[in-house]
């Protein structure tokens, strides 16, 4: 302690402790989320398999429980192929941007009372900013691969993300109006006064718009046009293989986890539930996030892919007017 004060000046030891604490928090959050991402792939395959009256992975471990580990090993040791005509620097950084943007949004998510890496006052804005930054990774990947499929995938993705960003932002405005803050912890606290401890009932339209926009934002089915297998092989990451491919894959699933957490925090009351679960303060948030992720799989197993013009129609002609209407109605009710 003395040692620190002498070298770095007074008060530096507290600063160091603080920093260490934050780093430990970050490590814990990333560890837990990466574990969830790995098993999200497993449960996606299982859930969709059972919905299609199949079994899903069954070979690695009992009921295929070790499948994500096997997948990781395979992707890790696979050859990393870089196309000769690719724009190399961009090709290298595109997956990193993608995964970085997805992971940084985790910083502002409060997992339970008092546990948040960065308790900033613009939390919600930060999330929106990061989710749009993530699309840079996709666009750059599409561009730098120098392949027509990935380029088309990248173009589609940029158009889709830009149009659904608006609907998403607008759908969250209702939440901001009701809670009067952009701080996610503040939003959860503000919901305690509402029925069921959530904004779901006053903001049902907002929730609806948000969920659809969130599915489109994360490029999941039925809005998975950027990676439409039947048309674009695999979309923007056609040319990627091995670990870089895994990064894109991870970014998609982290995006799902983040979007589900945001929906749970902004509309479903975050870590608050109908009753307290002792010793596990994050239990309710976890249950809500799991349900929302299950909803993603459920929708994927049910709905076919949208046609591109229908997708744009839905975004611009339905969701944005709905979100605007929601803002007006919320404003009027708030004024009364």
């Amino acid at each position: 302690m003395k040692f620190f004060e002498i070298i770095f000046g007074p008060g530096s030891f507290d600063l160091f402790l603080n920093l260490l604490f934050i780093i430990i928090k970050i490590a814990v959050v990333i560890g837990v989320v990466m574990f969830h991402v790995a098993y999200a792939t497993y449960f996606e395959r299982k859930v969709i398999g059972h919905m299609q009256v199949r079994l899903g992975p069954m070979r690695v471990g009992p009921h295929g429980i070790l499948q994500p580990i096997a997948d990781f090993m395979k992707l890790f040791f696979k050859e990393d192929i870089i196309p000769a005509e690719a724009d190399k620097p961009l090709f290298y950084i595109a997956p990193v941007i993608s995964v970085l943007a997805a992971l940084s949004s985790l910083a502002v998510i409060p997992f339970f009372e008092g546990f948040v890496i960065a308790d900033i006052n613009i939390g919600l804005l930060f999330i929106l900013a990061m989710s749009s930054l993530g699309s840079y990774g996709i666009i750059l990947a599409g561009w730098s691969s120098n392949s027509k499929y990935s380029f088309l995938g990248g173009l589609r993705s940029s158009a889709q993300v830009v149009s659904y960003e608006i609907a998403m932002g607008l759908s969250l405005v209702g939440v901001m109006m009701l809670s009067g803050t952009l701080n996610l912890t503040g939003i959860v606290k503000a919901q305690e006064a509402y029925p069921l401890g959530m904004f779901l009932i006053p903001q049902i339209i907002g929730f609806f718009v948000f969920m659809i926009a969130a599915i489109a934002e994360t490029n999941r089915s039925p809005f998975d046009l950027p990676e439409a297998e039947s048309e674009l092989v695999a979309g923007y990451f056609v040319e990627y293989s091995g670990m870089r491919f895994a990064l894109f894959y991870a970014a998609e699933y982290i995006g799902m986890v983040v979007m589900s957490s945001i929906a749970a925090i902004c509309f479903l009351g975050g870590w608050n539930g109908p009753f307290k679960i002792p010793y596990v303060p994050f239990a309710w948030l976890l249950i809500k996030v799991y349900f929302l992720i299950f909803l993603y799989y459920w929708i994927r197993a049910t709905l076919p892919r949208y046609r591109y013009d229908h997708l744009m129609d839905l975004g611009w002609k339905v969701l944005i007017p709905l979100a605007l209407l929601n803002i007006v109605v919320t404003g009027i009710i708030k004024m009364l």
Partner: protein, 187 residues
């Protein structure tokens, strides 16, 4: 758009119906067969690996080397070589089937006047070399011992290679041009 259609669109009834269906099918049992552990038993009369039938009295092959099977084989994968024995009796020197070329049409089984060749119910004979699929007379007789046997042999021709008209007509109520020909009555 009528009022009902608007309600349908707004509340996504169709999508909810679809999602209910997928949820229900999630709770049903999967139809997957875990193959190497859970094998599907071959249906009776399945056309699998070939076998040369043994005569139950002598234990030798029933084949007399007439070559009808080789003659009718559409993919020409049966090769029969005969020779004269010391007592001037025709003997089958080599009887070979190239299984990789076989289409399992079973015309050879139908053509054989002595019921000397059959298709057994064995179907798992994957291998790494082409030689493994070239069946000689010894291997074909071995197949009989392994996958056919006398008990199955008796049943086999009685049930599956005894073509009767009723085997080739439909169910009882099926409309037919000449009702008197129904169900083997014409035989």
């Amino acid at each position: 758009m009528r009022f009902k259609d608007i309600i349908k669109t707004v509340f996504l009834t169709e999508i909810i119906k679809g999602m209910a269906l997928t949820f229900r099918s999630m709770l049903t049992h999967a139809v997957t067969r875990q193959y190497p552990e859970e094998k599907r038993p071959a249906m009776p009369g399945f056309r699998g690996l070939h076998a040369l039938m043994r005569d139950p009295r002598t234990g030798e092959a029933r084949c007399v080397g007439c070559g009808l099977c080789a003659a009718i084989c559409p993919s020409q994968c049966i090769h029969v070589y005969t020779a004269d024995s010391v007592e001037h009796k025709k003997i089958v020197e080599r009887y070979e089937i190239d299984v990789l070329r076989c289409t399992f049409c079973a015309l050879c089984v139908e053509a054989c006047p002595f019921q000397a060749i059959a298709l057994t119910e064995h179907y798992e004979y994957a291998d790494y070399s082409r030689e493994a699929f070239y069946m000689t007379k010894e291997r074909l007789l071995e197949n009989y011992d392994k996958y056919m046997g006398w008990e199955k042999d008796k049943e086999y021709f009685r049930r599956f290679w005894h073509p009767v008209a009723r085997d080739f007509t439909g169910y009882e109520e099926q409309p037919v041009f000449r009702p008197e020909m129904r169900s083997g009555q014409g035989r």
